[in-house]
Amino acid sequence: MFSFEFMQNAYLAGTLIAIVSGIMGVFVVARNMPFMTHTLSEIGFAGAAFGIFVGWTPLNGMLAFTTVSSILVGELSGAVESRRESVISAISGLFIGLGILFLSLSNKNASYATNILFGSVIGISRQEVVQMASLSVLVLIVLFFIFRNLKDDSFDAVGAKTNHIHSALISIVFLVLLAFSVSVAAQIVGSLLIFVLLTLPAASSKYFAHTVIQMMLLAIGFAIFGVWLGLYLGYITNWPVTFFIASIEAAIYGLALIYNSITNKSR
């Protein structure tokens, strides 16, 4: 299997993405942002379609759209809870609509849309792997430096207010990192299934691990397991890789919930 360059590329890119997603996911879950992440990803779909329309790579189009909107979307987090969901619906709808428009204007066939929406890990080139690796490393470096403050702001927002850690700045930096992570992860699982890597592994990890660093390591483990096994199963069955990764991560989450209800009962 590894004699094919496209499989090497897929495993390389998938592993990097699993690492970044596992770490970022822990903060996404702690900050209660799975839907915000999903919205960013749908905005990314419009960006990828726009990229195809103007002749950029889908990844570059996605990066441009998600980065700009991450800063704008950040304003939403201050909105009243009940309104926030509706505003997110409006934004999602608008951007998916735009994505369909760009695809139609670019006269590409439907398989382009499928690739962006549901992922196309098998088609990733060596050059794209290098770009994804650079973005991932950048995300990890920034995280390394803001780790302590981001951890405080994400896991104890009330207490963090008195710690002079510039919550507003931390939030914006986090959203930009999230935009990068979403763009990279969407290359594997597609922009419709971003939950699969950026939420589920971290959401599962919190039932087994009780420090932020342990949760990250476990989330990375769950994500890597899903990506590696998904790629292998996709290779031998010819079924979509995304289907396998999504099923594996959902199964892990289901097991985590069962484990949690059993241990809670016996407590």
Partner: protein
């Protein structure tokens, strides 16, 4: 006379056209255990926010000692039953700044010290979400102690606790006050515990305030609590 940590002179604060604090004058000295009492809405939390420099007074002055380090235990926290971090890791959140992601040996030792100070050794690895109300308050207290504050502010920390747990927490606070000389500001609407623990009081009412040593706190107010 011991050192003055906070001095407040003729301080007033109003929101829009609603006056919350009017002409307040008092001081907090090092080593004091000050009980701030008053009904809901008289401005207890507002006063704390002025001390924390989150609100500016409309008139008057507040002066904090240079370099005064404050540990603050807020009234509300969003910690639900699914909150995953262990008590230890929750406490470590207050080690902020641009530092290595993992804790240093010194930081780990400090965490153990504060855990011992609040008597949580036996459950320090348990998720905070599964801790009882009193254990949670002790964990919040421990987190506020981690950066060696001179002054500890507790905002209604005992409000949701049953009488025994309340005493247990306040015994810990009193011990910190007596053995470490930690200055305490304890906000509450519970007259009985205010009579029992603090050595000074500041009683805010709708029409003004009274302050002084706890022996001067009017005795007929001892009857239970008012909300």
């Amino acid at each position: 006379m011991s050192e003055t940590l906070i001095s407040v002179e003729d301080l007033s604060l109003s929101f829009a056209n609603h006056q919350v604090l009017a002409d307040l004058t008092f001081a907090v000295h090092r080593g004091e255990f000050l009980g701030v009492i008053g009904e809901n809405g008289v401005g207890k939390t507002t006063l704390i926010r002025v001390i924390l420099n989150q609100l500016k007074p409309s008139a008057g002055r507040i002066k904090l000692e240079n370099g005064l380090k404050i540990g603050y235990v807020p009234q509300f926290r969003n910690v639900d039953v699914e909150y995953p971090l262990s008590i230890e890791d929750f406490i470590s959140l207050n080690f902020t700044g641009i530092k290595l992601p993992w804790l240093s040996r010194k930081e780990k030792q400090k965490i153990q010290t504060v855990i011992n100070q609040v008597n949580l050794e036996h459950i320090s690895k348990r998720p905070l979400g599964l801790a009882s109300g009193g254990e949670k308050q002790k964990a919040y207290l421990a987190q506020a102690l981690i950066n060696d504050p001179d002054l500890l502010i507790l905002d209604e920390s005992t409000a949701s606790l049953d009488p025994n747990t309340k005493r247990e927490l306040l015994d810990v606070v009193k011990r910190l006050n007596q053995t470490l000389g930690l200055t305490i500001i304890f906000v509450s609407h519970d007259m009985q515990v205010i009579h029992e623990y603090p050595d000074h009081f500041l009683w805010l009412t709708k029409n003004g305030y009274t302050a002084g040593p706890i022996s001067e706190l009017h005795n007929d107010s001892k009857e239970g609590e008012y909300v």
